[in-house]
């Protein structure tokens, strides 16, 4: 069974109230989700609070997970990002590095964990991002990883919001076109 299929099976058992399956789900995924949350909320105490909220939500909503509609990691990452972004939005903005720096911060040490069968998918996304203009790709990364709004990112970059939206949206369409279906 692939790692993703195993994770989907674990979530199904969580949905039935299986605590052992939930503990295993946590063991397999919490470090990755904590990393995702820390990118948006670098303050550790706050990130830990959000991680806790995320897994309580996962436990409560596991029965809603539908393997036909989303991969398990997409489902988990979406919950983690939504919670972290919501927390981030609930307070004022924090300082962040401009896009020219963001271009260089890509973490080149992925793929080390058993969490996902996304190696190929991740390569496809990176290949697609690589076809974009670097500032456009960096804008997509900053919104995705740092949870920044268009307004905040545009202000940081000193460009009109409309220009930024156009970069990001057209970049995404182009990315999607580049990726295997």
């Amino acid at each position: 069974m692939s790692a993703a299929a195993e994770l989907a099976a674990l979530l199904a058992r969580c949905g039935d109230g299986d605590r052992a399956a939930f503990a295993e789900t946590y063991n397999r995924t919490s470090a990755k989700l904590f990393g995702v949350i820390l990118r948006i909320l670098p303050e550790r105490g706050e990130a830990e609070d959000v991680l806790q909220e995320v897994y309580v939500t996962v436990w409560r909503k596991a029965a809603e997970f539908d393997a036909a509609r989303a991969s398990p990691i997409t489902w988990l990452a979406t919950i983690a990002r939504n919670r972290a972004i919501d927390r981030f939005r609930s307070r004022s903005s924090r300082p962040s590095a401009p896009l020219d720096d963001a271009v260089d911060v890509r973490d080149e040490t992925p793929l080390a964990d058993q969490l996902i069968d996304t190696h190929r998918a991740a390569s496809a996304v990176h290949a697609a991002l690589a076809t974009l203009e670097p500032r456009h790709a960096a804008a997509i990364r900053s919104t995705y990883f740092e949870g920044m709004t268009y307004e905040a990112l545009a202000a940081r970059e000193g460009i009109p919001v409309g220009t930024l939206k156009s970069w990001v949206r057209r970049g995404l369409m182009r990315m999607k076109a580049e990726m295997p279906a």
Binding site: I85, R174, K176
Partner: protein, 241 residues
Amino acid sequence: MSDHPAMIEGPPEGFNADDALAMDVALGALGREELRAAERRMRSDPAFRALVEGWQQTLSPLVDDVSAVAPPASVWEAIESEITPAARPVVAPAARSAWLTLGFWRGLAVGGVAGAALALAPVLLPGGPAAPPVLVATLAGTDGVPLVAATYDPARGSVIFAPATQRHDTGKSPELWVIEGKNPPRSLGVIDIGNPNAHLDARLKGLKPGSTLAISIEPLGGSPTGLPTGPVVATGTLSAV
């Protein structure tokens, strides 16, 4: 879908306002209010929801870039105590009532409770001759005052709520439960009882006549334990129209 999708400039891609909004939601680039509005729309518009889910799926391999960081053990301990009802009394003992005991719920499911008497709601939904029967319940408080009429459409797997009385539980979430036979209450999700609306949730599949629906008032986002923790404000039994 919008009636008049606005085209964003810039061929050759060509995409409409819904596509653009779906990307924004999946990226997380919206402000809080816009995001909430989009999430509400996802609940009521499956086509839009599918667009957003498509983009979430497209973008999620990016998380592979993020370095894993092991959280401290205290996080798991906190999660465990939060999802274990016995480990942490959610309601102060004084506030506990018969509503909260499993025995009460079983009694309700088996025999019914005088105050939880139901009234049939004269609501009709379109449905072909072969469609499974629509079920209705009026959910009322112990005083018999109806709170909300619920209409369950098995074909769509949705419950339509028509509020009869307004409640204001600021900072709380009403949650819908079903009691089937002798089983403990099963959550059917957090609901809106402030306005007429359709509640869609995968857990609504297969509801049967004779089951009891109940609404409890829970912390924002729903019960942290998987069982009702707050006051049950209305109950009613599902029956065929």
